[in-house]
Each structure stands twice: as structure tokens, then as C-alpha cells.
């Protein structure tokens, strides 16, 4: 077995008595006190995540904008400096290489943030596409630690240790500034369905920042959160996970990410296939499922209707917020009808579930309407 990589916050996780697991080659905290407790902490207060395992790839050069425009399915041409764009990145087959965030410094400099388990694959893929472009692509993952502070109290807590006016950082925007005297890149983004920030910092300052945030948030009960709760949080908010809802054999249209695929762009990798799929109809659709009978649908369990296999579960869990067993499933598009009942095959036994709206959780205190949040809301409600 290869040696697991550790983030610069590893010692902090040990000190906080985390249970550590192998996640995409990284030794990461899956939980500290318990998944359900941590889940509620983020929904009701705020929680601090170590997401230093995420990959960062910098694209610089004269053709940087055109290059990224070709690389991803979303339209980066309208993105302003200091703004962030979410997008799938596809193979020519229309399957998904990864989903990512694009941070625009200016038209000649972008930071692409990718999934930890895909970082090396993504870097190799991106590098391979550079041929006819005047760009320089660099894997800068080692230069960043990343902390995410997520939850309704995130802004209040973080504001205590920075002179930046955090209320000015809009959803899907970023800025540079000091937090507790440490130079950071701060973005109003996250993977929990809550308001919050993702903070990029050099590895050698990350422990100081981690401790400071927990210290100034102690009064409100801010606590460290592991990957277990990160998964249940993102799943309730229908934020897709690569390897579950997304993969090389799944197109962004099937995954319900159509709003992030701009087929009116001149060209991008995968466009032909995705366009044909759009015209001929998507073969499969992602649906929400609620268990009617006792059982928990888990990733990759088969889904059946009248004894015929019609798809599979992409993610499934007990939902701490709803106190129900719910799932997301990828099924034949013609069967993706609200209210329909189908069978989840749990260890060979058919257990009934109902198709329900897949946005299981949406926070009430949405940020003031803005261009990007409107887009984000739209995608969150555009899927069945």
C-alpha cells in the first residue's frame, strides 16, 4: 500500500481525536465527535473543515481564457475578475473528467480547484490539452492548505479576526486579505448547502489559522467537521460528488448539471456528444428517492422497476436534517417521474422507495439575490 498523504493539519486532527481514514490517498478525518452531531453543528452554527487535500491548478498566459473556455462546459467568458465559476470538465465522449471551480484573477491568470482524488489525473488531462495554446499550467496543490468555515454563523465568527468586510464578499466571489494577520485567499463558496467561506493559505500558516478560528468560534460552538458530515451535508443539498453522481461514464446532462453546460459556446471538449444527447434526449436522469420501507439505499445498489433493472443508487444515507433515509439515483429517463415507486435492491432484497424532488435541503436564509446565486438556485431547482 502506498503511504497516505497528510495535510499540514494532520497533528491538529490527532489532537482533536479524529477518526482517520484513507480518502483518495489522503489520511483524512472522517469524524471527530460523530457524524450526526457534526452535521447539525454546520446546519445550525458553523463548522471548520480541513480540505487541504483539494487540488489547485494554476493556468497563466496570453491564451488562458480561451484555453479554459475550450476545457470546461460552462462559459468562462463572462466571468469578471475576482469571481468564481462552477463547471464540469468533460472528455470528448461527454463523460466527466471532474467538476471544478475556476477562480479568475484576470484574463491571463486563473486558479482551478479540483477534487483531491482526481488532482493528478486532472493535471495530466489539462496539460495534454495545451498544445495549440500559449499557456502555462502548473499543479500548485502543495502551495495551499485549505480551510472551509461553513454554517449560518461563519461570517460572524470569521469577521472577528479580519479587517476585511466579509459582507462585501459576494457568493461565488473571492478576495485576498489577512485573517489573524495571515495572508489568505478567501472565497464565499462551499460544499455544504450553507453560507460560508473557503480559505486558502500557505501550509505553514494553516495550523495557526485553524486554531484561531476554533478559538474565536468556541463561544458559538464552532467545531471541527470530518468528511463524514461533509458528505451528508453536500448530499442533502444535492451537490454532486465525483465517483457517485459524476464519472467518466456519466454526462453532465444526465447528472442534472445542464445549466453548467453552455451549448451555445463555439467549442469545448465533449460538445458534439453532449449536443447530440440534448437533441435526442438524455438516456438517464438523476432523481431523488425517499425510502418507503425500512432500509438505507447505498451507493451502487441496483434500482429496479417490475423486476427490471432501471439504474443504480449514486448516493444514499440517513439524512440527519430530515431524519429520513434518502438517496439519489441515476435511472432511465422515461421512468424519472415524481411519485413513482421503485425497488432498491438491498443485499438481494427489494425495498420500496418513492421518487421525490432531489433537492432535499435548501437553507432558508438565502443570500440576497445576485447573478451567481440566482444561477446556483436555478440549477438546484432545475433537476427533477
Amino acid at each position: 500500500m502506498n503511504e497516505l498523504k497528510r495535510t499540514p493539519l494532520y497533528e491538529e486532527h490527532l489532537a482533536n481525536k479524529a477518526k482517520l481514514i484513507d480518502f483518495g490517498g489522503w489520511e483524512m478525518p472522517v469524524q471527530y465527535v460523530g457524524v450526526i452531531d457534526e452535521h447539525h453543528a454546520v446546519r445550525t452554527k458553523a463548522g471548520l473543515f480541513d480540505v487541504s487535500h483539494m487540488g489547485e491548478i494554476e493556468v497563466r498566459g496570453q491564451d488562458a481564457l480561451e484555453f479554459i473556455q475550450m476545457l470546461i462546459t460552462n462559459d468562462v467568458s463572462k466571468l469578471e475578475d475576482g469571481r468564481i465559476l462552477y463547471s464540469p470538465m468533460c472528455y470528448p465522449s461527454g463523460g466527466i473528467v471532474d467538476d471544478l471551480l475556476v477562480y479568475r484573477y484576470n484574463s491571463q491568470r486563473f486558479l482551478i480547484v479540483v477534487n483531491a482524488s482526481n488532482a493528478d489525473k486532472d493535471y495530466a488531462w489539462i496539460l495534454k490539452q495545451t498544445d495549440s495554446f500559449n499557456v502555462n499550467v502548473e499543479n500548485v496543490s502543495d502551495q495551499y492548505a485549505q480551510l472551509a468555515l461553513q454554517g449560518p454563523l461563519a461570517e460572524t465568527v470569521l469577521q472577528r479576526i479580519t479587517e476585511l468586510n466579509l459582507s462585501q464578499i459576494k457568493y461565488y466571489s473571492f478576495t485576498h486579505g489577512n485573517i489573524d494577520g495571515i495572508s489568505c485567499l478567501i472565497s464565499r463558496t462551499g460544499y455544504t448547502g450553507e453560507d460560508g467561506f473557503e480559505i486558502y493559505v500557505t501550509p505553514d500558516h494553516s495550523r495557526q489559522l485553524w486554531r484561531k478560528i476554533l478559538e474565536v468560534g468556541a463561544l458559538e460552538g464552532v467545531q471541527p467537521i470530518g468528511l463524514g458530515a461533509r458528505d451528508t451535508l453536500r448530499f442533502e443539498a444535492r451537490l454532486p460528488l465525483y465517483g457517485n453522481e459524476l464519472g467518466a461514464e456519466i454526462s453532465p446532462l444526465e447528472a442534472g448539471l445542464g445549466i453548467f453546460v453552455k451549448l451555445d459556446k463555439v467549442n469545448f471538449i465533449g460538445k458534439e456528444v453532449i449536443l447530440a444527447q440534448k437533441e435526442q434526449g438524455v438516456p438517464r436522469k438523476l432523481v431523488g428517492l425517499e425510502m418507503i420501507e425500512r432500509g438505507i439505499a447505498r451507493s451502487h445498489y441496483p434500482l429496479q422497476k417490475d423486476g427490471q433493472e432501471i439504474g443504480f443508487v449514486t448516493s444514499g444515507s440517513f439524512s440527519p436534517t430530515l431524519n429520513k433515509n434518502i438517496a439519489l439515483g441515476l435511472i432511465k429517463a422515461d421512468l424519472a417521474i415524481q411519485g413513482q415507486i421503485l425497488d432498491v435492491m438491498i443485499r438481494g432484497k427489494a425495498v420500496k422507495a418513492r421518487i421525490v424532488p432531489s433537492l432535499f435541503y435548501k437553507r432558508e436564509d438565502q443570500l440576497k439575490p445576485k447573478e451567481s446565486s440566482v444561477v446556483a438556485d436555478k440549477v438546484l431547482s432545475s433537476i427533477a
Binding site: 457524524v35 450526526i36 452531531d37 463524514g228 425500512r294 432500509g295 447505498r298 440517513f318 433515509n325
Partner: protein
């Protein structure tokens, strides 16, 4: 903290022996490793279980775990409370978190199970 009057196995399951009625459950170590238990599937009263074979599942938020029978026999009682309130396995694995009671056909398999001392030695080794 692990009761002295129970028998234990390597899968971190326990058996409580009262005559030929054996109560099955999972140990404190098992519930800690699993984390928050959110689902328990148990057989019905009257079903038969077979020594070493799975008779149900215990699921945490992240993991599915089979539970296996320490003896063969007929299920005479099922703890329906843990099916409705799975976190009893976390809060009281040796008390309210018991799983099923089985009328044993043969008590011999219990002899190969561990005493509390042996089980705690195993736990110490696993922690290394």
C-alpha cells in the same frame, strides 16, 4: 466497562448466557468503531439463526455491518426498540441496545468465545 458475565468474539459481538437463552449484541468497541448507528435490521421472532452466519445488519451513517449468530437456534425475542431507536446501540450496547434472544440448540459454540479478560487483551492488541 465490558461486562464480566458475557462471552465475546473477534467480530466484537457478545453473547449473554441465561440457561439455553442467549442474548446477542455488539460490544462498546463495535459501536464506537461504527459511529452513529442509524439503522438496524433484525429477524422476526420464530426465525432460525445459524452459528457464524449473518442474522441481520447494523448500519451507521457511513458503514454497513453484518451481525452474526454465536449459536444456532430459534429467535424467541427481538428488541424492536433498537429498530425504532437505533442509537440505543451507541448509548447502551450492553443494556437497552441488545439485539435478539435465541433459544440455543447447542451451547458448545459458546466455549470457543472469549472471556472479558481475553477480549480486552484482543482490544489492546488491536490498538497496538
Amino acid at each position: 466497562m465490558n461486562p464480566v458475565d458475557l462471552k465475546y468474539n473477534k467480530e466484537h459481538e457478545y453473547a449473554k448466557v441465561e440457561g439455553n437463552i442467549i442474548t446477542f449484541g455488539i460490544t462498546d468497541h463495535a459501536q464506537k468503531s461504527l459511529g452513529d448507528v442509524v439503522f438496524v435490521e433484525l429477524p422476526d421472532v420464530g426465525a432460525t439463526v445459524t452459528v457464524g452466519k449473518s442474522y441481520g445488519t447494523v448500519e451507521s451513517v457511513k458503514a454497513v455491518s453484518d451481525i452474526s449468530a454465536s449459536v444456532s437456534g430459534k429467535v424467541v425475542e427481538v428488541n424492536t426498540s433498537v429498530m425504532d431507536t437505533p442509537d440505543l446501540l451507541n448509548s447502551d450496547p450492553y443494556g437497552e441496545g441488545w439485539l435478539i434472544k435465541v433459544e440455543a440448540e447447542d451451547l458448545a459454540p459458546l466455549e470457543s468465545m472469549m472471556s472479558v479478560e481475553e477480549y480486552e487483551t484482543l482490544l489492546a492488541q488491536e490498538e497496538h
